[in-house]
């Protein structure tokens, strides 16, 4: 049967002596991705975790970024040749852990509370639910990170007025680029959270992904492991983030906008895998 059975059955009902089907007086319209986005925005803004994690991130970025600049200014450190914007990295690096937590929680809390069943009953399309979550979460984190990074960069430039002036491209990378990268990292966490379905497990995995390469690399003394060591350092998330500020641990490796392409690939794989798994798996 391809068409809804209602009209036909309604005609049959009086003959059979049965009651007719109930029909709602509320007009029915098909739900869209826009509806799902509105729903996810309601969900995200109505839990305290959002305010806490993003609030902590903003606080870390502001205090560490401005604090470092003030400290250097007070000591009259000579920063000749060094871009002042790079001082924003420390705050962003710590703040990224908050974004990871929120990204995992966005989907993980649905699984831990059982809300996911209600959600997927209200919207049977798994891809739409995940897309709406990704869009809302990405937009929120992107806007907040970019605005905060810009404010920090302005403060640093004003406080350390003696340093070299950064180019327009460097400014774009240190604000919009960082915002995109951190929001992408959050999306990666969301994808991992959807795959793992366990909040604590997914957060642990993501923190490992961020920190472990740099913890392992220094211990690779053997010559045979040089290549691996170099790869781990160059493609570690802190180093790629640092590349957005124009400072890297090595001279090779991704630079300028390249880290964003790497992150885009990772996000595509994680979210694609998550959609495929959600479609196949029992909830």
């Amino acid at each position: 049967m391809t068409s809804p059975a209602t009209p036909q059955d309604r005609r049959q009902a009086p003959e059979a002596g049965l009651l007719s089907f109930y029909e709602s007086p509320i007009p029915i319209r098909p739900a869209t991705l826009g509806d799902a986005i509105a729903s996810e925005w309601t969900k995200l803004r109505s839990v305290r975790a959002t305010v806490w994690t993003l609030g902590v991130m903003v606080a870390l970025m502001l205090t560490l970024g401005v604090g470092t600049a003030l400290l250097l200014a007070a000591n009259d450190t000579n920063l000749a040749g060094e871009p002042a914007l790079a001082l924003g990295l420390f705050g962003v690096l710590l703040g990224s852990l908050c974004v990871i937590t929120l990204g995992v929680l966005t989907i993980g809390s649905e699984y831990s509370t059982g809300m996911i069943r209600t959600t997927l009953t209200a919207c049977p399309s798994r891809a739409r639910v995940l897309a709406a979550k990704a869009i809302v979460f990405f937009s929120l984190v992107f806007v907040i990170t970019t605005v905060t990074a810009t404010v920090v960069a302005v403060f640093q430039t004003v406080i350390l007025s003696g340093t070299v002036a950064a180019s327009g491209g460097a400014w774009a990378l240190a604000t919009v680029g960082v915002g995109l990268y951190i929001a992408g990292l959050g999306l990666l966490s969301l994808g991992v959270g959807a795959i793992v379905r366990h909040t604590a497990g997914a957060i642990t995995i993501m923190i490992g992904v961020v920190l472990l390469p740099l913890v392992l690399a220094p211990f690779m003394f053997a010559d045979a492991l040089r290549g691996v060591q170099r790869f781990l350092v160059e493609y570690s998330i802190p180093n790629q983030l640092s590349a957005l500020y124009g400072t890297t641990m090595t001279s090779t490796g991704p630079s300028a906008w390249e880290p964003l392409l790497v992150m885009l690939g990772l996000v595509a794989v994680a979210l694609g895998g998550a959609v495929a798994l959600l479609n196949r798996r029992d909830v």
């Binding site: 969900k43 209200a122 029992d282």
Partner: protein, 387 residues
């Protein structure tokens, strides 16, 4: 209309739902009964497309749930009262669901009023009691004003007022022409609410019939017939006549006859026909609960046992000679085995996939002094005769 055909769900070696086929029709409250772990919730999840069946399929109005157009406007479900984010307010929880389904936001306040939660709409659901959670879940199910409603244990944790309200709500929803499918293990509740019953045990369909049919088919419905005590030949004559007419007759210790398979007026007519006076002709009907226990007794996965605390109790203090204080030198008396629950006679023979019920423990034998009208001897009597 919900239709399941050959629905099967396996988790590894365990078969949770086994070749289940049934239909749930609109305009009636259909109760879904079964012991814990019998596959009720798994079936509900498969209806909603949350779990995919290993074999078979289930459709709502002819479509599998996941390809149903406007699914949330056609089907509403309460699966788990605790399935909400505790940090979100009741109103925001419902608002997010309404937005997801494309339902106007005004409907949220409407259903909050329907379930009586409007005063706590701005409170976080983490502080809600189980009963309030159930009301919130019912509100979510009603949000889309759907044609088909599924409720998994809706009265758990509700106060008497709430139970009464849910009962009337189900009946009202069904009277409007909706399909209402309610799972429960509260038999007394189902007896008052449901029109039709689907009973499963270990994932298999045990029964699919109306409540009244279910009770008479699965309980020890019988008529007690007593003839004057001065005429044993009258008693035999009546017994022969009743058996000839297709009834089943058992003798009670008090001299009365227990007749099944014949309606009361027919018994009266037959007695009149063979010229036997009756001192008593009374109907005895079992409750839905007893009928249900009889049907599922062999299919209960999780059965409680006595808590004997064996091996944990401290040994009695010993005196100087190594004997227990108090002079009782003999071994401790073994505890008398008492069954946990009343044993019910097996259901009437028929094509039913139920395994044989466990043999009654000797301790379950009724004492000779017991009144024949009490439940346990009744079952005993019937089972003896069936053997």
């Amino acid at each position: 209309m919900i239709e399941a055909v050959g629905l099967t769900k396996r988790y590894g070696a365990k078969t949770a739902v086994d070749d289940l086929s049934f239909q749930v029709r609109p305009g009636a409250v259909t109760g879904f009964l079964g012991p814990n772990g019998s596959g009720k919730s798994t079936t509900m999840r498969m209806i909603l497309g949350l779990d995919s069946p290993t074999a078979g399929h289930v459709t709502i109005g002819g479509h599998p749930y996941r390809s149903l157009p406007n699914a949330p406007r056609q089907v509403g479900a309460l699966l788990d009262a605790k399935g909400v984010h505790g940090g979100r307010t009741a109103r925001n929880h419902l608002l997010s669901l309404a937005q997801l389904a494309g339902i106007p936001a005004a409907r949220v306040d409407e259903v909050l009023g329907v379930v009586g939660l409007q005063d706590v709409a701005k409170r976080r659901t983490g502080g809600f009691s189980l009963g309030m959670g159930q009301r919130l879940g019912i509100a979510a199910a009603l949000l889309g004003d759907p044609q088909v409603l599924l409720f998994d244990e809706p009265v758990n944790g509700l106060d008497p007022e709430g139970i009464h309200w849910v009962r009337n709500l189900m009946k009202m929803l069904a009277a409007e022409g909706r399909t209402v499918f309610v799972s429960s293990h509260l038999m007394s509740e189902m007896a008052l609410t449901a029109d039709h019953l689907i009973v499963i045990g270990r994932g298999r369909l045990l029964s699919d019939m109306s409540v009244t049919d279910f009770i008479s088919a699965n309980s020890a419905d019988f008529a007690r017939v007593r003839v004057p005590e001065d005429g044993p030949e009258d008693r035999q004559k009546l017994t022969a006549t009743l058996i000839e007419a297709g009834g089943r007759v058992m003798s009670e210790p008090g001299g009365a006859l227990r007749v099944t398979g014949l309606p009361l007026p027919r018994i009266s007519d037959l007695a009149h026909g063979c010229d036997v006076r009756l001192w008593e002709l009374s109907p005895h009907q079992a409750s839905l609960e007893e009928a249900y226990m009889r049907l599922t007794q062999g299919l209960v996965d999780y059965r409680s046992t006595d808590d004997t605390k064996a091996g944990l109790a401290e040994p009695p203090p010993l005196d100087a000679y190594g004997y227990p204080v108090g002079g009782h030198t003999d071994v401790p008396v073994a505890p008398v085995e008492v069954p946990q629950e009343g044993w019910y006679a097996p259901p009437p023979p028929g094509p039913r996939p139920a395994p044989a019920p466990p043999a009654p423990s000797p301790a379950a034998e009724p004492s000779p002094a017991a009144e024949p009208s009490s439940a346990a001897p009744a079952g005993e009597q019937t089972s003896k005769d069936l053997r």
